[in-house]
Symmetry: C2
Subunit: 255 residues, 2 copies
């Protein structure tokens, strides 16, 4: 967990922790160094341990030193989110000849990204960061929607709908992952049990299907939702095409 850490601060010779050291050499810290430590801590110890105290320990500095680089914790978190995103989406998306595949890929990227950092998923979903990577993603998805055959108004709408659904589903799934395992398993187990012993007179449907109901956190849900959306987009584009051709035939000069 901290074996290769010695090197990181090794220019403070041998006494990183010892009584001899008074303070870190100037400019040891920086936004980048802190953000990278922050990622490590979040990944390793979870959100509860994500405190200035433990971040400071990770970089061998005093907790309050971090304030020289970030106004407060909220700012640190937002910048971390940007940073993580920039790294995750580093390899930019390349359009293929299938808009479906493209949208699916982009959805999968987001989903994976959120699940990789579940601690911050809620913030990731709710707050815009308006950085280059975001523009690139929007451009990519918008292009795919237009290639699917949507008109501009529909594309704008479906971009938002699709994006919000992807992000919010991912965020919720991540949110459940971020619960401590005890709580999560408790919820899941209790849920399954209770649904099996529901009174059949009151809830006949549930009783009849209790064996087939899915967990709230079932991973299949996300993929199904995505496919369902893609189908919907395709159908919508089809409609639009029909509308266009019909209009051309029946009312060639509509105004």
């Amino acid at each position: 967990m901290n074996a290769p850490k010695a090197e990181d601060t090794s220019d403070v010779p041998a006494k990183s922790t010892g009584p001899g050291r008074r303070r870190l050499p100037r400019d040891t810290l920086s936004r980048q160094v802190i953000l990278e430590a922050a990622e490590r801590v979040a990944a390793r110890d979870g959100l509860d341990a994500f405190t200035f105290q433990s971040l400071a320990k990770e970089v061998n500095a005093h907790p309050t030193s971090l304030y020289r680089h970030f106004r407060d914790k909220d700012q640190l978190v937002l910048e971390l989110i940007d940073d993580l995103r920039a790294r995750s989406y580093g390899g930019l998306l390349k359009p293929t000849d299938s808009w479906r595949e493209d949208l699916r890929t982009s959805a999968r990227y987001i989903h994976e990204h959120y699940l990789r950092y579940p601690q911050f998923a809620v913030q990731m979903a709710a707050r815009t960061t308006r950085r280059p990577t975001e523009f690139a993603n929007v451009e990519f998805a918008l292009d795919a929607l237009l290639r699917a055959g949507l008109d501009e108004a529909d594309a704008a709408m479906y971009l938002r709908v699709f994006g919000n659904v992807i992000r919010s589903l991912s965020s919720m799934e991540a949110g459940m992952l971020a619960l401590d395992p005890e709580t999560r398993d408790g919820d899941t187990l209790a849920w399954q049990l209770e649904y099996r012993r529901v009174p059949a007179e009151q809830y006949p449907r549930i009783a009849a299907m209790s064996g087939q109901l899915l967990d709230i956190g079932d991973p299949k849900v996300f993929d199904t939702a995505v496919d369902l959306f893609l189908d919907a987009i395709e159908a919508r584009a089809e409609q639009a095409r029909n509308r266009r051709s019909t209009r051309q035939e029946s009312t060639p000069k509509e105004r």
Copy 2:
């Protein structure tokens, strides 16, 4: 909701806060009294003020007294969520002859409920509470899906997908509402501005459509998502019906 409650605390005559009072009379507190106070505090002062200290002040008790009724804060929040839900969904849903309308209604209920208590929306979405109201909702939606013509496996899957999408979208929308207004408006404004000045060479689609793009928190998004889902369910049911009749024709006695 709390009209006849006044009595509960009024038997502490006149000196509720005065120096004369030593402690609250026995059994002044109870889960219900505390939960109702909790709702008031959350609605009035927001999530940041949702502390044992302020809850205690609201009921005129010592902060640690609350521990006699709730193991810890997490438990209190979960029970509050249940309580709110029970009250919001009080009037149970009645099936109509349109499964579409039924699903739409049930989606709207959830959406409104989450927006009414945005402070807890994240928890509401991620954690199961397995109470009667939940069963009733599930039964209702499941019934609607089967009436739509889905087979059981599909119904189980779409129940989860639809539910999760509704809940997660609502939760995300609520999450943005729960941000303090400054932050929220800042995000929104900056977003709009930046998207209008995006370089057209790099992001031609965005540049061409920048005027039409929707806000991330646009309320139309939810309704559109719901309709889109309903269409998808209908299409899926249609497929299933076709598949069934085809099978009947081509392989009338399949085993």
